[in-house]
């Protein structure tokens, strides 16, 4: 029964994405607490937060429009769709051809478009500030992310993630300078896209520095739960996108249960290590001033461009 198997793999992947994303964020938070000498609430804390928010009632500002109420679903929905398309545990996904890597980035951009609109919906100064900053950061990130993708798809001769993963996973482990540059650029970009420390601090509500939090300040109850869960999935997916592009070894090439189990195990191992790396970056750096971000993201763009150039010169 081939079709049934396809659907089964798809379901397994979806469950992994939706369920594991808060755990990954919890893991990062836990490591961060430890590295800063604080006691942590454990890996499961994000689940508790989400569960608590789902139980609470929604308190909505008087002038909120349908955009404000629709956005949480849109954010969550787009994250789940990307999670179902990206090869994370297996390359044998039947939905994978429906979107290549450029489309995936664009779907995230659609979600961001809505969340920025929601930030402006209530008409508070904080919301508008968050939206304006978020779109500014996004517009600087986009060229860098595209150049990184460009390098990877030049090397993989495709923009389809499945084919990129296939070509990298089957290749022997050689250090290709173009891929290294692209990977460095990608790390910068993930930090900016996920709103992690040098760019944005997810745990602050300090008015002068917040970006993402400023946009969702007026949310409550299940709406807030969906947005937070969606953002966690988004963070998770950006990291797994990096894994798919730069560390694809071990992903299930066949649809046997054993391969998938190994794939899931290796994925959690990789995620654990990457989480530790992110914590190292976050504790080692202070949050940047907003207008210093041009340098940060400019560096990311430069790295990605170096990747393209070294691909043409060296390979």
């Amino acid at each position: 029964m081939k079709p049934l198997r396809y659907i089964l793999i798809e379901m397994v992947q979806l469950i992994v994405v939706i369920a594991a994303a808060p755990a990954f964020v919890g893991w990062v938070d836990m490591l961060k607490c430890w590295s800063q000498g604080r006691a942590s609430a454990g890996v499961l804390q994000p689940y508790r937060n989400i569960a608590k928010l789902f139980v609470k009632d929604v308190v909505l500002a008087g002038n909120a429009s349908w955009i404000f109420r629709f956005t949480p679903y849109m954010v969550f929905g787009s994250a789940v769709v990307v999670g179902s398309v990206m090869p994370i545990i297996s390359i044998d996904l039947f939905l994978a051809p429906s979107a290549d890597i450029i489309v995936l980035i664009a779907v995230f951009a659609t979600a961001r478009f809505f969340i920025a609109l929601a930030g402006m919906d209530i008409g508070t100064a904080f919301g508008g500030m968050g939206s304006s900053r978020e779109m500014m950061i996004a517009s600087l990130t986009e060229p860098a992310i595209l150049m990184a993708i460009f390098t990877v798809s030049l090397a993989g001769r495709s923009t389809s993630l499945v084919h990129i993963v296939q070509s990298f996973a089957s290749a022997s482990l050689t250090l290709r300078p173009s891929i290294v540059f692209a990977a460095i650029a990608f790390i910068f970009v993930v930090i900016a896209e996920a709103g992690r420390v040098p760019v944005d601090n997810p745990s602050t509500h300090l008015e002068l520095t917040m970006v993402h939090e400023a946009m969702i300040l007026e949310y409550s109850g299940r709406h807030l739960a969906l947005i937070q869960w969606g953002s966690m999935i988004r963070f998770f997916l950006f990291v797994t996108l990096g894994i798919a592009c730069f560390l694809p070894w071990g992903i299930a090439a066949t649809d046997s249960a054993g391969d998938i189990a190994i794939s899931v195990f290796l994925l959690s191992l990789k995620l654990g290590v990457i989480g530790a790396v992110i914590v190292l970056i976050e504790t080692g750096l202070a949050k940047m001033r907003l207008f210093r971000l041009t340098e940060f993201l400019g560096a990311a763009f430069l790295m990605a461009t170096l990747g393209v150039i070294s691909f043409f010169i060296l390979e």
């Binding site: 002038n63 787009s78 939905l95 489309v103 951009a109 402006m120 508008g128 996004a138 393209v308």
Partner: protein
């Protein structure tokens, strides 16, 4: 069954009927508007049909009209390319004509509606004729009629001096462009038929001629810059943000949506069809100008707070994106890579159609807002989503489309352009291999900035609360009412087309692929087995694929399931005053407006503009540390104006002043002038 070319000619001729209405029933304003625009809509619909038939039929049709100068009759031709543009122009004209019924009725009573109807119809008919023309003569006639008609439409509210100035600027730029195009035709006709007779003036003769490279280059440069002046390519864009906003919004929709596209048509027609063989640097020039226009256009748009001016700058951006596709296609063609050239060309043409639809939609939406609020400054508006629910949703569709976000149409063409960029490693020239990917990064920057700009537009105009800063008493937000049905239907049709073009690109690209067959003799590989309407695979299914329907259905399904799961138990929603971190004295003045939203962008990209920013404080009498009133002044200027236009204008004024010195107004001096002239002529000849 009528042949497509006769059908299209009929549709162009049918635009006389509304003009007759003006003469016959000019006294009955309401009736006149309804009848005239219904006939325009019907006539446009006929040309849509003709366009579809022409693209679907395999052969080009020609027709010689018994009109024109003695022994120089007008030649018409309807092939796939002109059929496609006929389709695009007709489709938007159809939507806009429906919209116009309500929009023009809603104009103030004193406005010259009759003049609007006359020139509106001449304008559309002239655009059709530009697409049909097959010789230089009728092309120039139609081109100039189009320019003149649109000039009078820009002059619609001629009571205000800034409108007259805008129209004058437009006229000057249009004529510089027209002269260049005319010269280009002159060069080509001269090569094609020699200078002894006039046989070279048909496009057929030009197609058959072999152009020596230097003359081909001259013809291309002349025609490209001529068309670029019409299309608003930077640095020829200065007229565009002046002229488009002051025209009535239905006309702005047509001017931005399709009139600029006739210039794209001209560029494609002259380069790919008539000249046909060209060196790579032509394409490089087009690509670079396209990239500059795209990035600068969107940055200028971000700085605006006048709704229609902002949209006009976005036209500069989108023309840039179209030219990126066309430029890439020219580069690939000159290196003899026809399959890749076909992809880039289709990307450019698809964006041409997309831009017509979403820009038409956005201008129609802006017109609805304008009719309801009598305000063009976005910083006065806010919260219109509560008063104009229909318009806001339709405008949002336009915003998402133009921001190149899936699943709407702008994304498809941008995705195709990215795919074309990704094929650039096949080029043999190593320098170009390195530089062209940077163009892709600029395109990505453009897309992201456009998204930022439309978050700003939609957020400031439709979300939040009504601002009403300068005249809080004059316009009460409660007076703002939803647009009428005809306006809504016009916008709905355009929005629906945007969605269809976004989720069913495979069908449409398969349909318009004949253009690449006509011009480049290759087709795209778009099919991938069963259900091929769902999958867009322009190069190879292995290489890249996109399925609009699946992405749309996926997002919609997840949203719906989540919604249902969360509403099994009826959740309570309590509406309360805004929280805003407990800050209580929030007024609508404190909202982020267009100027503050774009502040980070001004900081980062400000070096590209001529910005003057002043904050002045009026200190209190007792102590300067406690100011009572502060004022903010911001002026953002186009650097190109100072760099290029001002020196030229100054030189022209200086020259004409010098030339004016020989004018005395005394008759005997003039008699001496003519006497001397005659003597000189006699001596020379």
């Amino acid at each position: 069954m009528m042949s497509p070319i006769k059908l299209s000619l009929l549709s162009a001729a049918a635009f006389i009927i509304p003009i007759l209405f003006v003469v016959l029933i000019g006294g009955y304003r309401r009736l006149l508007i309804r009848m005239a625009f219904s006939v325009s809509a019907l006539a446009s619909l006929i040309s849509v049909g003709a366009g579809i038939l022409a693209v679907s039929s395999s052969a080009a049709e020609q027709l010689i009209l018994p009109l024109g100068l003695p022994s120089l009759p007008f030649h018409l031709r309807l092939d796939q390319l002109s059929g496609f543009f006929l389709f695009v122009v007709g489709l938007l004209s159809f939507f806009v004509s429906i919209y116009s019924v309500g929009y023009v009725t809603g104009l103030a009573a004193g406005k010259p509606v009759k003049r609007l109807i006359v020139f509106y119809n001449i304008f559309i008919a002239a655009m059709f004729m530009v697409c049909l023309a097959d010789d230089a003569l009728i092309f120039m006639v139609a081109w100039e009629v189009m320019a003149a008609a649109s000039y009078f439409l820009v002059m619609f509210e001629d009571g205000r001096s800034e409108n007259r100035r805008a129209a004058y600027l437009y006229m000057v730029m249009a004529h510089i462009g027209a002269i260049l195009i005319l010269l280009s035709f002159g060069v080509m006709a001269g090569i094609a038929g020699g200078f002894e007779n006039f046989t070279g003036y048909t496009f057929d003769a030009m197609r058959e001629a072999e152009f020596p490279l230097k003359w081909a280059t001259a013809a291309f440069l002349l025609s490209f810059f001529g068309f670029a002046a019409k299309a608003g390519v930077i640095p020829f864009h200065v007229w565009l943000p002046e002229a488009h906003p002051v025209a009535p919004s239905n006309v702005s929709a047509l001017m931005s949506g399709v009139m600029l596209k006739t210039a794209i048509y001209g560029i494609v027609r002259v380069t790919f069809d008539i000249i046909n063989v060209f060196p790579w640097w032509w394409g490089m020039m087009v690509l670079v100008l396209g990239l500059v226009s795209a990035v600068m256009g969107v940055l200028y748009a971000l700085m605006q707070h006048d709704l229609k001016k902002l949209l006009a700058y976005h036209s500069v951006e989108n023309i840039g994106i179209i030219l990126i596709g066309i430029g890439l296609s020219m580069i690939f063609t000159s290196f003899n890579l026809p399959a890749m050239a076909a992809l880039a060309l289709i990307a450019g043409l698809y964006h041409t159609m997309n831009h017509a639809m979403f820009k038409g939609l956005l201008f129609m939406g802006a017109g609805a807002v304008l009719n309801a609020t009598h305000e063009r400054n976005m910083d006065e508006m806010g919260g219109l989503i509560h008063h104009m629910p229909w318009t806001s949703v339709l405008f949002l569709v336009g915003c998402i489309s133009i921001s190149a976000l899936p699943p709407f149409n702008g994304f498809v063409s941008e995705w195709l352009t990215f795919q074309a960029f990704l094929l650039s490693p096949s080029l043999p020239n190593p320098l170009m291999k390195l530089l062209i990917p940077l163009g892709a990064a600029l395109l990505a920057l453009t897309g992201a900035l456009a998204a930022a700009c439309f978050v700003k537009v939609f957020g400031v105009v439709f979300l939040g609360n009504w601002r009403g800063l300068s005249r809080p008493l004059l316009t009460k937000v409660t007076e703002v009412t939803e647009a009428g049905w005809s306006m809504r239907i016009g916008m709905m049709l355009a929005a629906f087309t945007c969605l269809c073009l976004g989720i069913l690109p495979a069908i449409i690209i398969k349909w318009m692929d004949v253009i690449s067959e006509e011009l480049l003799q290759t087709r795209l590989i778009t099919t991938s087995g069963v259900y091929d309407w769902m999958w867009l695979t322009p190069v190879d299914p292995e290489r890249a694929s996109y399925s609009g329907p699946l992405v749309l259905i996926g997002i919609a399904a997840v949203c719906a399931i989540t919604y249902l799961l969360l509403h099994v138990k009826p959740g309570k929603i309590s509406r309360v005053p805004v929280w805003d971190c407990g800050f209580k004295k929030l007024t609508s003045k404190m909202q982020y407006n267009a100027v503050s939203f774009s502040m980070p962008f001004r900081r980062i990209f400000g070096f590209l503009f001529d910005i003057k920013e002043q904050i002045s404080l009026l200190p209190q009498r007792r102590h300067p540390a406690f100011p009572v009133k502060s004022s903010y002044y911001l002026r953002v200027r186009d650097r190109f104006w100072g760099w290029i236009y001002k020196p030229v204008i100054d030189a022209v004024v200086l020259l004409s002043r010098k030339a004016g010195m020989i004018q005395h107004g005394r008759i005997h001096v003039y008699l001496i002038y003519s006497f001397v002239t005659i003597i000189v002529l006699l001596a020379l000849l």
